[in-house]
Symmetry: C3
């Protein structure tokens, strides 16, 4: 890895993530991207692997800076695995705000990557936010200000059984249900997003995680694991009686 | 690989396939999945690699149990290769029927995987059913009760030459023609499905297989091969004069 | 690799490319492919990796033979990476014309592959044509006869910064802007195509290439590289002052 002295370069993170800024986007691109007129600078985060984790990271970043969410794309990627990567654009009046937002998002991407589990057979992704903001709202339609939970399982059959267990374990409200044909970019996943009170969302996510890990482990000899430390672990221990 | 004591777990098979059941699906998911009211339990099969083979496996399974086909999705997968995985849901009144259907499908997945050929350059998939039922009908529009043949070749150019040779070799009726842009999930394949009398379908499949294997072998040093034994082999020898 | 004595076989090239011909396509396939009535033979090129390079190769091939472009598909492929493969069909009255077109395209695929750069983190693709013909026009809507430039960067964030730099460096006219959600097959890329005078297109391509390579190098320790020699290199040295 080399560093870059390009003014656009902000940094890198796990899951093949790069963070960049554009101070004063070219006018032809501005038109193609349908940018609002008050936006002059952009911050961009994109990864080969992961979706909800990086969207949560951006969600926190825009809460803490004078930036707003512009677009969220979920390419079919994961470097040969069955899920998504991401391509997320935020905007602001000032390039320093955009740079700060992307710095925060790169740091939080590392944290959220703790809840991505990859084995030689498939993958799982979990995310939890105590209070969803506009990025999570744009991506999944979840209400702003409410607790938010996300789970994806691949191969897709695992995702459905995770979803069923999670929804039976807790009285959360389903906000999005995604399949290989609907809502995804043809990924091999069943994904659910839900909102509700914090305790209910946590219970649902943790139940899905328990079931998903057990089922994925039946498929290969290697342990499902991600590039950083599971961050729901402490929560997990606390909630299990 | 660990086993699972979850009530949902049925088993695993080749091509990263997992089989699961859900006894009494959650009511919110039921609504999202648009399940008919008489269905209370589900059986689910999904794989990272393969499409027609697993659909044929499910097709046999529903013929032999009190279950029916609910949905068939073809995610863009194959673990970095140019084709599909699958996500198939069957339904029944009784979870034991669904479990039996998935057990049959897991076993037959192994058999059908004999006609998946993967090299470092591309892949081929073939399938043949003496009498198509409702799963093959839902997936490809082939008439119920008629013999059915399927062939996919990747990179796509190979698939087209396979199709041309197969259709010239035998008077089958084309029921589906799929390309990277139409009918697939943007896979790098040309796929044809056809019906007709048994002999005609077999001749077409075997001619496509002969041409596809020869062309795929020109692309890399390794032999195209799958996870189990080609099951059309005996048929093949019998038909070649 | 074995050679093939099938009459359809033309040859292989880098990036898992195969070239084939079909003399007198089956009438059912002819209908499905919506072939014009004066076309009786086909030439087919398809690859697991690459898009613009092979389209440029075909573009030259049809200029130099009595063939015409029939269809261009961009499957989501690149063997586990974040981009496209390709599936391109040309047609002619004579199979010898089609064979010649595919021979030319296979040879030029090797040349154009010099501007595909792949690292363990992502990939870049560049293409330049001094005078676009009907294949480039069909694929990207670029005007026939004008100079044409193409650049794709993955992960997508890199592609956007490449595009911004290229468009600021040179007064080219943007003809296509593609994102993971619009215009691609859900690839993890931002792609731009542009036309203009030769010097302007070259300047834009070279600026995008310089920025893209620097950013991609920040993501992994291995050097981004392709299967053949960069062909814009001499142009590059000449233009840099």
């Amino acid at each position: 890895m080399s560093t870059s002295y390009l003014p656009e370069f902000v940094g890198n993170s796990v899951l093949d993530t790069i963070g960049l800024v554009i101070p004063g986007i070219d006018s032809t691109l501005r038109e193609q991207m349908k940018l609002p007129s008050h936006i002059s600078s952009l911050g961009i985060l994109s990864s080969r692997t992961g979706a909800a984790g990086q969207i949560c990271a951006i969600d926190e970043a825009i809460k803490n800076t004078s930036t707003e969410i512009i677009s969220i794309d979920l390419p079919r990627d994961t470097k040969g695995w069955g899920g998504h990567g991401n391509y997320i654009v935020v905007g602001g009046r000032d390039v320093s705000d955009c740079r700060r937002a992307i710095e925060i998002a790169l740091e939080l991407t590392r944290k959220h990557a703790g809840e991505v589990y990859i084995s030689s057979a498939g993958h799982l992704e979990f995310a939890y936010s105590a209070s969803a903001s506009y990025a999570l709202n744009m991506a999944f339609g979840t209400p702003v200000g409410k607790s938010f939970g996300f789970m994806a399982g691949s191969p897709a059959a695992i995702g459905l059984v995770m979803a069923d267990n999670a929804l039976k374990a807790s009285s959360v409200e389903l906000v999005k249900y995604m399949t290989p044909s609907v809502g995804t970019s043809h990924s091999n996943e069943i994904i659910i997003c839900f909102c509700g009170d914090a305790e209910a969302c946590k219970t649902a996510v943790l139940r899905g995680r328990e079931v998903g890990l057990e089922l994925l482990k039946t498929m290969s000899d290697d342990e499902p694991q991600g590039p950083s430390t599971p961050y729901l672990k402490s929560v997990f221990e606390h909630l299990l009686r």
